[in-house]
């Protein structure tokens, strides 16, 4: 945890972590007997799902709930589905989880199902969405928005995370191969890569444009990359895709390259794990592995009231269960011991203005939060720039009154989405 310095006339600086120059090999977590997969679609009461409890699945089999589903997941093992139920995620959105009992006898021999991968984005989107790194194939495959730039994020977007840098360091050639694959299947000529400005990662770039990103948080966030390197201002409430820019993480590019090489899916995800004392571990785990298996591998004990953070300390989320599975987009896990969890309060805003000064998007957080507290979301969006927030979390980080500002903003955005959906 980084505390404010004694003299704080200048803003606090949060510096991104760099990967160590000669990183150790990641610890490989064995495939557990039960894997959990999340599927981003709720089960409807009224419909008969395609996936049933007790059904057998093959490694690499594509699983979706209904015939017309657009969401799917890929089973990383051969086995039996032992449970299927709905799951409320971190924003209360209802999705579905499956538990697959790994058929140990089969693991060794069956290789992943071979896919019919063609050199176009649609066929990649058919099978490869859940590759480690979660490539945004769905966005790339959309035909209503024309993507003209792909940015590979080699610089990790949150603090404490070095997964992307590690992948770049270790698989630079595969990365370049992946970029070629991307170029081939998407036909997008402009591919860029972000690399921390003081990083020691080197290698040939072919035709990839290099962006050296600043070391100070939040310069690696998409909105900031757009602003600093592509000279684009992200309009309030829009995504980079709306501007024709698609962000893809380095690991996704690498696994894409591997997948195209083998014509089958990849399931090994690289994780950066930060233990209670700040020790950094690196693990390689199959997607779907419950997190407690990962903790066990490093001897991390989780006690009552500890916090498991998935994603970095600024933008991640904390889960309520040790069984939360390793997900394709899960780069970082941070475990906080109960005694260092900073308090929050239900104080009102005292108008100290620290959030205003640190906000990279110039959002008037001090006034905005008053409207959000009063549930006046429309007003908050119309007059006080709710949509402009780039979700860096710095306002909460510095809040003197310890208000969960970032939670208010995220909740506000969510509620507003619901309100607008109703209209």
């Amino acid at each position: 945890m980084i505390k404010r310095s004694f003299f704080t006339l200048s803003q606090p600086g949060l510096i991104y972590d760099l990967v160590e120059p000669d990183p150790k090999e990641p610890v490989s977590i064995p495939i557990p007997p039960n894997l959990i997969l999340l599927l981003n679609e709720p089960i409807a009461n009224t419909r008969q799902a395609l996936i049933k409890k007790g059904a057998a699945v093959e490694k690499g089999e594509k699983l979706c709930l209904y015939n017309d589903s657009t969401e799917y997941t890929i089973s990383p093992v051969t086995g039996i589905i032992t449970a299927i139920d709905s799951y409320a995620d971190v924003f209360g959105k209802i999705s579905t989880y499956l538990v697959i009992n790994n058929d140990q006898s089969q693991t060794s021999q069956t290789d992943s199902a071979a896919y019919d991968l063609k050199d176009d984005i649609t066929s990649a989107d058919q099978y490869l969405r859940t590759l480690p790194g979660a490539p945004p194939l769905k966005a790339l495959a959309r035909d209503d928005v024309k993507i003209n730039t792909i940015v590979i994020t080699g610089a990790d977007s949150d603090l404490l995370s070095t997964t992307s840098q590690y992948v770049m360091l270790k698989s630079w050639e595969m990365l370049k191969e992946g970029a070629r694959v991307l170029k081939t299947i998407t036909k997008i000529p402009k591919i860029c890569i972000t690399i921390p400005e003081n990083s020691n990662i080197q290698g040939g770039l072919d035709s990839i444009v290099l962006f050296k990103t600043a070391s100070k948080y939040p310069s690696n966030l998409p909105a900031m990359v757009l602003k600093d390197h592509l000279n684009m201002v992200l309009p309030a409430g829009k995504t980079p895709e709306d501007l024709g820019v698609c962000f893809i993480c380095a690991e996704a590019v690498v696994s894409l390259a591997k997948a195209y090489k083998k014509k089958s899916a990849e399931f090994e995800k690289i994780l950066t794990v930060t233990g209670k004392k700040g020790t950094r571990y690196r693990a390689k785990a199959t997607i779907g592995t419950p997190l407690h298996k990962v903790f066990k591998a490093f001897g991390i004990r989780i006690n009552d009231q500890d916090r498991i953070i998935i994603g970095g300390p600024m933008r991640g989320f904390s889960t309520f269960t040790h069984n939360h599975p390793v997900q394709p987009d899960m780069d970082t896990i941070v475990i906080q011991s109960s005694d260092i969890i900073p308090e929050i309060s239900d104080y009102p805003c005292v108008n100290c203005g620290k959030c205003l000064r640190i906000c990279p998007a110039n959002v008037p957080v001090n006034i905005l939060v008053r409207y959000l507290e009063a549930d006046q979301y429309e007003e908050a969006a119309d007059k006080y720039d709710l949509d402009s927030c780039i979700e860096c979390g710095l306002c909460s980080y510095v809040c003197t009154a310890k208000i969960p500002l970032f939670q208010y903003i995220q909740l506000g955005k969510n509620e507003l989405l619901k309100l607008r959906a109703e209209v």
Binding site: P348, R370, Y371, E373, A374
Partner: protein
């Protein structure tokens, strides 16, 4: 210079809302939102200037000439009410855009004691026509200024955790009191 003094005095020192206590009902009613406050302020400026002129004319050329000054109250209020109603109908038909922004506030002004009070004050000071005009304008600007400042503060208070019994009007009045207090700063400046 005389006009300037009248103006400053009317806006700040003798602010019609905060020092003269006139027009307080719409002051509390229309200050909950900034947009309403601005609309009301504009409408008051518009009406007060017109009413100031017309009542001056009525007073000088009719009441005083006929020596029936005791009919001032009756005649003024009738003239003001009719004028406002006329303007409202006129705007509604002819300039609907203006009506939407400002005209809808006109009925509020019919029985606004700020308008009537300002006209009576003008007459009792025996202003010339121009002075009366400036004075009316200054009162109206003072009204608008106080209203807009008040609305700004009130918008924030409405979002605060005010104890239940004090919410809305009650805390509004206390706030108005403090604003009146701060307007005492201008004491003696003219």
């Amino acid at each position: 210079m005389e006009f300037f003094e009248i103006f400053i005095a009317g806006v700040f020192i003798n602010n019609i809302l905060l020092a003269q206590f006139l027009g307080n009902c719409p002051f509390l009613g229309t200050s909950k939102k900034m947009e309403t406050a601005v609309g009301m302020a504009m409408a008051v400026i518009f009406v007060l200037v017109m009413a100031g002129m017309i009542t001056w004319i009525v007073d000088t050329y009719l009441l005083k000439a006929l020596d029936v000054e005791y009919l001032r109250t009756v005649s003024f209020i009738l003239v003001i009410a009719s004028l406002v109603q006329f303007v409202e109908m006129f705007l509604k038909k002819s300039i609907p855009g203006l009506y939407a922004g400002l005209g809808i506030f006109l009925p509020l002004i019919t029985t606004n004691c700020a308008v009537m009070g300002a006209c009576l004050l003008n007459i009792s000071k025996e202003y010339s026509f121009l002075s009366a005009l400036v004075s009316s304008f200054s009162y109206a600007v003072g009204f608008g200024l106080a209203l807009i400042l008040f609305a700004g503060v009130r918008e924030r208070i409405n979002l605060a955790r005010v104890p239940k019994p004090l919410q809305d009007t009650s805390i509004g009045l206390v706030t108005a009191g403090i604003i009146a207090l701060t307007f005492m700063s201008f004491k003696g400046m003219v």
